[in-house]
């Protein structure tokens, strides 16, 4: 639903993280995803992280697209 874009966590300070997407940085609140780590990608919705991107699942999904495309 609502607009949320995957951005990478560059630094964490308390309840805030500095995230970067395509060269643009912003401080976002990680109060809703307190266990996030530097280097992980989070979904940023209105200045808050609402979830951590599961990179393994992301790969799996791409693989699925490729498999489905055949036959």
């Amino acid at each position: 639903m609502c607009l949320a874009v995957p951005s990478q966590v560059k630094a964490i300070e308390g309840q805030y993280a500095e995230v970067e997407i395509g060269g643009v940085s912003r401080n976002v609140s990680i109060i809703l995803t307190p266990d996030v780590k530097i280097g992980e990608y989070i979904l940023v919705h209105t200045g808050y992280s609402i979830g951590v991107v599961n990179e393994d699942e992301a790969q799996e999904t791409i693989k699925l697209f490729n498999d489905l495309g055949i036959g």
């Binding site: 949320a4 995957p6 995803t33 919705h45 200045g47 990179e55 699942e57 999904t61 489905l68």
Partner: protein, 366 residues
């Protein structure tokens, strides 16, 4: 190249998926999405045309701006007119017409209406303007509600006493149920919201296959995500096994985001809500709990508004329920355009009418 975004827009992979979908024997499957973001993506990438006639994609009441009742917009407008109030809002709401006016018009008349990207920014405005009362217009579904709840907790912690929220938040699963109960449209499957589900997970949708015998798949927002979702729904229909599945696995866990729900539950409680086009739906909205009444704009300011009225000829309500398309509306494109919107479906960039108007034509017109 934006990671976790662009890979899901690959045109070649998409073509292959579309071909696979079209090769299915089934025709005329009716799938409804409940998420403004999906409405936009479908129109922007021409998916509706690509999948017709095998699949008919319908738009449901998934745009939080569109489903906000006139009476509620009028409340926000009444608050914005008060000289001691700074009304902060997401950009989506600025042009939405209420019964008599809009926040944009109030701003032109001297009301202090400010657009913010985040509730955090509204907090900063409150902090920097202690002599004023800052009201944040809380719209959005379960994706946004936890962020607003977090802002209230932060206001309490930082002792910011001039921050208030007008909660017009609504919940997704109850409205899906209401729509299915109405029996107005026959559906073969549901494209479930992506980021709402990132918060609530997949379990709250279990009632859909159980009580209505159709399946639902949680979808992401890129074209490949939506095509995958359609493919999964078709597989369910062919195998006669309606279940709830997640296509958007990189963003949604079956259990959702527990911490976000915890924070939402600390601040909000469930209440009846007034939905444009659907009327009052029980247990479908959020209001601030008693212990947070100090932050409740409605309790603190009692916004008086004249009786709400609906614009004549506007069929937003029926469009939201999927029983009409924008082209069925007499006002569409003539007196209701993005420059002069009559109803919210045209104002909101995610509203069906705006999406049809902006992206329609060429491959989208039907």
């Amino acid at each position: 190249m934006i990671k976790f975004l662009d890979e899901y827009r690959d045109p070649e992979l998409a073509q292959r998926l579309v071909k696979k979908i079209r090769n299915h024997a089934l025709q005329g499957l009716r799938l409804m999405e409940f998420c403004g973001g999906h409405t936009v993506a479908i129109m922007k990438y021409g998916l509706r045309q690509l999948l017709f006639p095998q699949v008919e994609l319908l738009s449901g009441p998934g745009c939080p701006v569109c489903v906000t009742a006139n009476a509620d917009i009028d409340k926000a407008i009444a608050l914005a007119k008060k000289p001691e109030i700074i009304l902060t809002t997401f950009g989506d709401m600025l042009k939405v017409p209420g019964s008599y006016s809009s926040l944009q018009k109030v701003r032109a008349d001297g009301g202090d209406v400010r657009i913010v990207y985040s509730a955090q920014d509204a907090l900063e405005i409150a902090q920097g303007n202690r002599d004023k009362k800052v009201v944040f217009l809380g719209i959005g579904f379960e994706t946004t509600a936890p962020t607003i709840a977090a802002s209230i907790l932060e206001a309490k912690h930082r002792e910011i006493k001039n921050y208030y929220v007008l909660s017009l938040h609504k919940l997704c699963p109850p409205v899906i149920k209401t729509l299915l109960d109405s029996g107005e449209i026959k559906l073969d499957g549901i494209i479930l919201p992506g980021h709402v589900s990132a918060i609530i997970g997949a379990y709250p949708y279990e009632f859909i296959p159980l009580d209505y015998g159709i399946g639902g798949v949680v979808a992401g927002f890129e074209p490949l995500d939506i095509l995958l979702t359609v493919e999964m729904l078709i597989a369910q229909i062919e195998n006669r096994k309606p279940v709830i599945e997640i296509a958007y696995r990189r963003g949604v866990k079956p259990e959702g985001n527990e911490k976000a729900r915890e924070i939402m539950d600390m601040v909000f409680e469930i209440t009846e809500a007034n939905w444009r086009g659907l009327g009052r739906v029980p247990a479908s909205g959020l209001t601030l709990k008693r212990e947070y009444q100090d932050f409740n704009a409605e309790a603190s300011f009692v916004p008086e508004a004249m009786p709400a009225k609906e614009p004549e000829g506007c069929v937003c309500g029926e469009i939201l329920r999927g029983i009409k398309t924008p082209r069925d509306c007499e006002l569409f494109g003539s007196c209701c355009t993005p420059e002069q919107p009559v109803g919210p479906c045209m104002v909101s960039s995610e509203g069906s009418c705006a999406a049809y108007y902006l992206y329609g034509g060429e491959n989208n017109g039907r």
